[in-house]
């Protein structure tokens, strides 16, 4: 999953508030200026001054006198309106139909059916509620004005603030209930769509399993999956897939930790050298899940029961590194890594060296600054998950995987006086396009090195108590294959803490949609105080589009793009001039460039005024099974509150200064 931002609410809120103040200040100045210009046309320049002053002076008692009771009365009215006009019913009908027929096209047997299901319901819900929010909010106030029903409201002691906030709140309450209902139904839909059972294809008896020839290699596809499998069988074909069930031989020394789960043990025997051999039945994961196995009886007479699917609903809690730094072959630091020439610069690449210069110093350092054992509840094994990119300069044996290695280092606060720990390297095969898990033991063998480079001690040290005594740990990743490259981004390598509750994470994901929906409603209501219904809809839609594509628009407007802005590009297109050709200097070119600067600057400004929906969209987290951290939620909530406040104020002034009757 692509994660480019790692927000921390308390770091974010300072600059965020500063930006808000800047926008508020410039908005106020612009608003007063525009108000004065409009009033000058109507009343003349001197009278206009008093008109603007009066509006500002009246705003203060209006804001102070805003009554929750009247807001709620208008909110109730909005709810009733939307319900009795059957907007909710229609939206819900479309949603129900989408789920009914959408189920036909979902393939539970595909590689990651949970991703397909979750993605489908999330996008469907998001699209529907945003469209519905836009429609009901854009039409309600203009309809009120058109039907003149607003006459009976504004002639009561109702302030414009109450009308605007009441509307936003009413539609908010309504769409929130609908979203909650959709979330519940979606959850049930995903759950039901994915839950399935298998039986053993022939007989549940272990005696019916096929023996695996010990000579069979792992690469003999379809013959063996686990390296220590001794027997195999298959489940029935259900929900578009079947699983291989293997009996594996798990040999442990008496002093080792013995298996905690004993329900899947077929037999247990003591070997001649004193070690204990467990024969355990396991279901090989297919389509992103596995099943729990319960063995009844013992030995060849035992039978196997398969439980429901497990492994679908995950909310992984990744512990990301705070900092990622790349080093090139010569060991010079670089924060981007090697660019392998792809257009997408998300990942930086680590060079594996070459035969000519085998001692490459290229590496990627992941610096964890808050590495604490409570993340993994003090367990002995830390799962390290990686999703690495691989770039090959030669194919060779395409089946052969590129080799990488990791190493842990302590980060002393004062390297000139403190000793530091360095672990032995752990070599692994990269698993392209998939998340791979390396179980990392808490006890890592390595060396204690003095500041002068001499070894003080060789032994096994604890990752938390020794390596990361000051909560800082450096993970060094290298590529160990000549002329190959391993690509990483900050979010690609992380320790996996204890999983979050899935339903709680599902709820958090919908909270992101909720934030987007509330902002869309606030935009609709606010715009409709001065625009007609269709124009409001258009304006809301455009703002939504800008919001969804904020990062893209910013790269286009804030980075140097060859070929210039829209007008220059058009000119080059028509005159068939290459993007790199310098245009002749002259008035025409200057005019074109200045106009482009204006347009591009305007578009760039718009991205700061429109809500950045990328910050509010948590769909990917749910789809790929990652927990949504509370910092992200706090940021999203703060953005929502800020937009609602700003839009309410804009709506208030527009409604207040508008002549309701015509």
């Amino acid at each position: 999953m692509v994660v480019e931002q790692f927000p921390n609410f308390f770091d974010w809120i300072g600059p965020g508030l500063l930006l808000l103040c800047a926008i508020a200040l410039s908005g106020t100045v612009l608003g007063i200026f525009l108000g004065y210009v409009v009033a000058s046309f109507k009343h003349g320049p001197f009278e206009a001054f008093y008109v603007v002053a009066k509006v500002i002076a009246e705003a203060i008692p209006d804001f102070l006198g805003t009554s929750p009771r009247r807001i709620m009365a208008i909110a109730r009215l909005s709810v009733k309106e939307a319900i009795r006009r059957r907007v909710i019913l229609v939206t819900f009908g479309i949603f129900a139909a989408a789920l009914l027929f959408g189920g036909w096209f979902m393939n539970a047997g595909s590689d990651n059916p949970d991703q397909i299901y979750v993605n489908f319901v999330l996008w469907g819900t998001q699209l529907l509620v945003l469209l519905m929010g836009m429609l009901i909010s854009a039409f309600s106030l203009p309809e009120d004005i058109k039907n003149k029903t607003i006459y009976t409201i504004v002639t009561k002691p109702v302030r414009s603030t109450e009308i605007v906030i009441g509307r936003i709140m009413g539609f908010g309450i309504l769409t929130t209930s609908l979203l909650a209902l959709m979330a519940l139904i979606s959850f049930a839909f995903v759950w039901r769509g994915l839950s399935h059972d298998h039986r053993m294809v022939d007989s549940p008896s272990v005696a019916e399993f096929y023996e695996i020839d010990p000579e069979t290699r792992l690469s003999d596809r379809g013959k063996r999956v686990s390296s220590n499998a001794i027997k195999t069988s298959e489940t029935t074909f259900d929900s578009g897939h079947r699983h291989r069930v293997e009996i594996i031989e798990d040999v442990r020394r008496p002093e080792d930790k013995q298996p905690e789960d004993t329900s899947n043990i077929v037999s247990q025997s003591e070997l001649s050298d004193g070690r204990i051999s467990y024969q355990r039945a396991v279901v090989v994961p297919t389509a992103g899940h596995t099943h729990r196995v319960t063995v009844n009886g013992e030995g060849d007479t035992s039978t196997i029961d398969l439980g429901p699917a497990t492994g679908y609903f995950r909310a992984r809690v990744p512990i990301y590194a705070e900092q990622l730094m790349f080093y090139d072959r010569e060991g010079a630091p670089n924060d981007r890594g090697i660019d392998v020439g792809r257009e997408w610069t998300y990942r930086g690449y680590v060079d594996g060296g070459s035969r000519e210069s085998p001692n490459s110093l290229a590496k990627a350092d992941f610096l964890f600054e808050n590495f604490d054992s409570r993340f993994i509840a003090d367990q002995d094994i830390l799962p390290l998950e990686m999703s690495l990119g691989v770039f090959r300069t030669y194919k060779g044996d395409i089946e052969k995987r590129v080799i990488g290695s990791i190493q842990f280092e302590s980060v002393p606060d004062d390297p000139s006086s403190e000793n530091r720990f360095q672990s032995d390297t752990i070599v692994f095969e990269t698993n392209e396009f998939q998340i791979q898990t390396l179980p990392i033991s808490r006890k890592q063998s390595g060396r204690l090195i003095a500041p002068d480079g001499s070894t003080v001690e060789i032994g096994t040290f604890d990752l938390f108590d020794d390596y990361a005594r000051n909560k800082k740990l450096n993970l060094v990743l290298r590529c160990e294959d000549y002329n190959q490259y391993i690509g990483v981004a900050r979010a690609d390598v992380y320790f996996r803490a204890t999983d979050d509750l899935y339903w709680a994470n599902f709820f958090k994901g919908y909270l992101g949609i909720w934030c987007q929906m509330i902002i869309v409603i606030a935009m609709g209501v606010s715009f409709s105080t001065f625009l007609s219904a269709p124009i409001t809809m258009l304006a809301t839609l455009v703002t939504m589009i800008i919001g969804f594509f904020t990062p893209f628009i910013r790269t286009m407007t804030e980075e140097d793009v060859a070929g210039g802005g829209p007008i220059e590009s058009l000119f080059r297109l028509v005159t068939q001039k290459n993007m790199e050709v310098t245009l002749e200097t002259g008035i025409g070119t200057t005019l074109m460039e200045q106009t482009d600067n204006l347009l591009v600057g305007g578009l760039s400004t718009l991205t700061y005024l429109a809500p950045n929906f990328a910050q509010l969209n948590f769909s990917d987290f749910l789809t790929y099974g990652y927990s949504i951290d509370s910092q992200r939620l706090l940021v999203a909530m703060a953005i929502t509150v800020a937009f609602c406040m700003g839009l309410s104020i804009v709506g208030y002034f527009c409604l207040k200064t508008r002549e309701i009757a015509k």
Binding site: E58, D62, R70, L77, R85, T149, I150, Y151, V154, T155
Partner: protein, 320 residues
């Protein structure tokens, strides 16, 4: 129709905070040089709807704004309510500028057509408008029920307004205007769309409200209605005030005398003519007075209500 509508909040003196030093509590509405010019998008003058109107409406009177369509009656009312902003001049209500929200606490407004939410029932409508005022829930409930009864819609209070006839909508419109027991009631064409019975009831209600001490401003082009209920009238034509004064003095024909007598035989007519001529007067006509069509119609309806199934004798009255 009952008239025992409870006041909004009896123990709370209903007075707006006053910041206007010139405020005279006896003058409820004041227009000073009030002018409204409608302009198009480019600011060009389209129509001058009201020209420098000066007007004072006193506490407790029923004031009628009269004029043909497009004379500026509705514009005046909308300016007083703050629905429109004056191009120049001022509109003061209870001594406050018309754009101030707080004045609305004491105002009731029945728009030209009852612009109400069609998806609400009568009960919900009044409850909603009641919630916009500062009144306790029990008082609100009581007022909703008594107003529904007052306007005679108890039988239809749970029906959505989209099912209502024009007359019924008008009644519920009046009820919403009275929900806060207002001191000033502005009625825009109050009798439009009502049948004669409804018209009479509306007029009776206006008079009842006057008895309660309310100030009423109504605009209408139905002259008979205005004549029946208004104390003072202003006649507008093309946005200009043409006449202003008490109805009785404006309509009084000073050089004519009317004598109404009962049980007089036709033979006495000659004596009366002789007496008039003797005093130098000119006899314009001696005749039986005619009832109005409105009175005839109301008599018939009333009799039908009392004796259902019978052909009424109202027609006979007319042929007598």
């Amino acid at each position: 129709m009952s008239t025992d509508t409870p006041p909004v909040n009896e123990d709370k003196p209903r007075r707006l905070e006053q910041s206007n030093p010139d405020y005279d509590p006896n003058i409820v509405v004041e227009a000073q040089n009030l002018t409204k010019i409608y302009r198009d998008f480019w600011g060009r003058q389209k129509v001058r709807a009201l020209k420098a109107l000066d007007l004072e409406i006193k506490k407790g009177e029923v004031f009628g704004l009269l004029g043909p369509n497009g004379s500026g009656k509705s514009t005046t009312i909308k300016l007083l309510l703050g629905l429109l902003f004056p191009t120049s001049g001022r509109a003061l209500v209870f001594g406050k500028d018309a754009s101030e929200v707080s004045k609305n606490e004491m105002i009731g407004y029945l728009p030209e057509e009852s612009y109400l939410y069609k998806f609400l029932t009568a009960e919900e409508t009044l409850d909603f408008y009641g919630r916009l005022f500062d009144m306790p829930a029990d008082v609100r409930k009581e007022r909703v029920n008594s107003l529904i009864e007052k306007v005679g819609l108890t039988w239809a209070k749970r029906r959505q307004l989209k099912e209502y006839s024009k007359g019924m909508t008008r009644r519920i419109g009046l009820a919403q205007a009275l929900i806060n027991d207002p001191d000033l009631i502005l009625l825009d064409e109050p009798t439009s769309g009502l049948d004669p019975l409804g018209t009479r009831e509306m007029k009776d209600m206006i008079l009842e409200l006057r008895e309660e001490g309310k100030t009423i401003v109504m605009c209408s082009h139905l002259l008979a209605d205005v004549q029946d209920v208004c104390d003072r009238i202003a006649i507008l034509y093309q946005g200009e005030l043409k006449e202003l004064g008490r109805v009785d003095s404006l309509l009084k024909v000073s050089d004519e005398t009317q004598v109404l007598a009962k049980g007089l035989p036709p033979e006495a007519y000659d004596d009366i003519r002789a007496a008039i001529t003797k005093h130098g007067g000119e006899v314009l006509g001696i005749d039986n007075p005619r009832t109005t069509l409105e009175d005839l119609f109301l008599d018939i309806v009333r009799e039908s209500q009392e004796r259902p199934g019978h052909r009424t004798s109202g027609a006979n009255t007319a042929s007598d």
